[in-house]
């Protein structure tokens, strides 16, 4: 679990984060959402220690990051895995070397054991057989999966993902989301995801934190979000008419009016039968 308590962060007298309080639960996919410039990347970088907070505490299972010495931070960071927006793969190394790098640096395992672990994680992310490829030779989705493999190879307690679906098509995005969600449950880790992909929010957002201009505006789950009354949040998520229609459908599902198999046909037959009959009469008139 990660607790964020009264965190403030400024750059050059401009306040980016103002009094952020949140809890990122273990075994859940915790999402930080918001518009560009809302402070979500800064918050995530404060959480992993890449930025120092001006005020406040960031507590990893009882250990306060802001009070840690360099040695303690190093130890904590070895329990953190991170997937960057651009994957951040080492481009002079192959896929195998990229994933093996943390093992080489932090374990005393023999070569075969390291290779076995690399092959295990590659299989887990469905990239078996790509060991000898370089990052320049694989697609964007594959790079993300290699990034995930490298992030989990040391079995971290915390997984951070910075816009994992950035630049991916909707289908591949869903594959990445599903993978991150499964790994979170499988390893029982605390996963924190920065995103503004609504598919991710609705599919895997078990704990969602919405930031607006550096302030926490709303917190809840993907089930609560469709019923929220926060104006900024609704403008952010349901920006297009298509998404507003989708929200209406999901609300109907949640209320039990429409089931998951989309029984629209049945509703149209039972509840909308007049509409269908009306259309037939109109058509007859036009023919006449």
């Amino acid at each position: 679990m990660i607790e964020i308590k009264n965190v403030y962060k400024s750059f050059d007298d401009k306040e980016i984060l103002k009094d952020i309080n949140a809890v990122m639960e273990t075994g859940m996919t915790n999402l930080i959402i918001g518009t560009s410039g809302s402070g979500k990347t800064v918050l995530q970088k404060c959480m992993v220690g890449l930025f120092e907070v001006d005020k406040g505490d960031i507590i990893f299972d009882g250990k306060n990051l802001t009070n840690m010495s360099e040695e303690e931070r190093k130890e904590l960071r070895q329990q953190i895995g991170m997937l960057f927006q651009g994957s951040a793969l080492f481009d002079s190394m192959t896929v195998e070397q990229n994933i093996k790098f943390p093992l080489d640096m932090f374990t005393k395992w023999n070569h075969q054991k390291k290779i076995d672990r690399v092959n295990d994680v590659l299989e887990r992310v469905e990239l078996k057989g790509t060991n000898k490829k370089y990052p320049a030779e694989i697609s964007g989705g594959m790079k993300k999966r290699v990034g995930i493999a490298r992030a989990i190879v040391l079995r971290p307690k915390y997984l951070f993902c910075d816009e994992p679906n950035s630049g991916l098509d909707p289908q591949t995005s869903m594959v990445i989301d599903k993978l991150i969600h499964e790994i979170t449950k499988e390893y029982n880790i605390t996963t924190v995801i920065n995103t503004h992909d609504m598919n991710s929010v609705m599919e895997i957002g078990e704990n969602i934190l919405y930031l607006y201009q550096g302030i926490k505006e709303w917190e809840g789950s993907n089930k609560d979000i469709i019923f929220n009354k926060n104006k900024q949040l609704n403008q952010f998520i349901f920006a297009s008419e298509f998404l507003r229609d989708a929200k209406d459908m999901r609300m109907l599902e949640e209320k039990g009016i429409v089931d998951n198999d989309r029984n629209m046909e049945q509703i149209m037959r039972e509840g909308g039968a007049n509409l269908v009959k009306g259309d037939e009469e109109k058509e007859d008139k036009q023919l006449q």
Binding site: E70, A88, D91
Partner: protein, 245 residues
């Protein structure tokens, strides 16, 4: 005032390098890799420059020493001392500032922009120690060796040009090399080589490590690294000559 904060950031980067390695074997591997990249990567350019440098030096010295009073061996002496004192350490290092310096700044800048440095930091690796340290150490190992090679090839280039150009015979040239030879000059040249190697590698690493932005800024960082290194090399050249000679 910005220059003071830049100098401060540079010194903090150097200070940050001195920590216990997370894995000595990995650091050694990186040191060897950088040494090969810097040393072997610059071998050909140093060879070509040195031979021609010595050759031109011999031809131009012969052109200027037209008096029959002055012995022909003097040409070899002048070539020897010019190559050892100045051409091999300074000229070669200015070329290496461009070759090695831009490579280091570009590599680190690209790693910074593509978040590879952040990825290493998140893993718990001290990136100043792992990325910058081996570059500086690798330069300190290989650049003086390249300067020694430049001295030898420069002097040989002078001999080649003198004999092929009919300026003087090989035996005359060899006699001239031994006349008035001061071993202190070689030590002075090596002192310059170590100083310049540190300047090239540390300045380039500083600019690359602190890139902020995109590919345009990487290019700017490379250029700034080379220019700053060249200026500091020339400044250090003067200071060392003033105090040691």
């Amino acid at each position: 005032m910005k220059i003071f904060s830049t100098i401060g950031a540079y010194l903090l980067m150097l200070k940050g390098m001195f920590t216990k390695p997370e894995n000595f074997k990995m650091y050694w591997k990186e040191l060897m890799h950088q040494s090969v990249e810097i040393g072997m990567g610059s071998l050909w350019i140093v060879t070509v420059i040195s031979i021609f440098m010595g050759a031109v030096s011999a031809v131009q010295t012969a052109y200027q020493l037209v008096s029959p009073v002055i012995q022909k061996e003097t040409i070899a002496q002048v070539v020897r001392d010019t190559v050892i004192l100045e051409f091999a350490p300074t000229l070669v290092c200015i070329v290496l500032a461009g070759v090695v310096g831009s490579k280091i700044a570009g590599e680190l800048g690209n790693m910074r922009v593509s978040e590879q440095i952040d990825a290493l930091e998140i893993m718990g690796i001290n990136t100043k120690s792992y990325l910058v340290g081996p570059k500086i150490l690798g330069a300190l190992i290989t650049i003086p060796l390249l300067v020694i090679l430049a001295m030898v090839l420069g002097i040989y280039g002078g001999r080649l040009a003198s004999t092929l150009g009919g300026i003087l015979s090989g035996d005359t040239y060899d006699r001239g090399l031994l006349l008035g030879f001061t071993p202190k000059n070689v030590w002075f040249a090596l002192a310059k080589a170590y100083t310049f190697a540190f300047i090239i590698s540390s300045i380039s690493s500083f600019y690359g490590y602190n890139v902020k932005g995109g590919s345009l800024e990487i290019g700017r960082a490379s250029t700034s690294a080379v220019i700053t290194s060249c200026i500091l090399i020339l400044f250090a050249d003067y200071i060392l000559a003033f105090f040691i000679l």
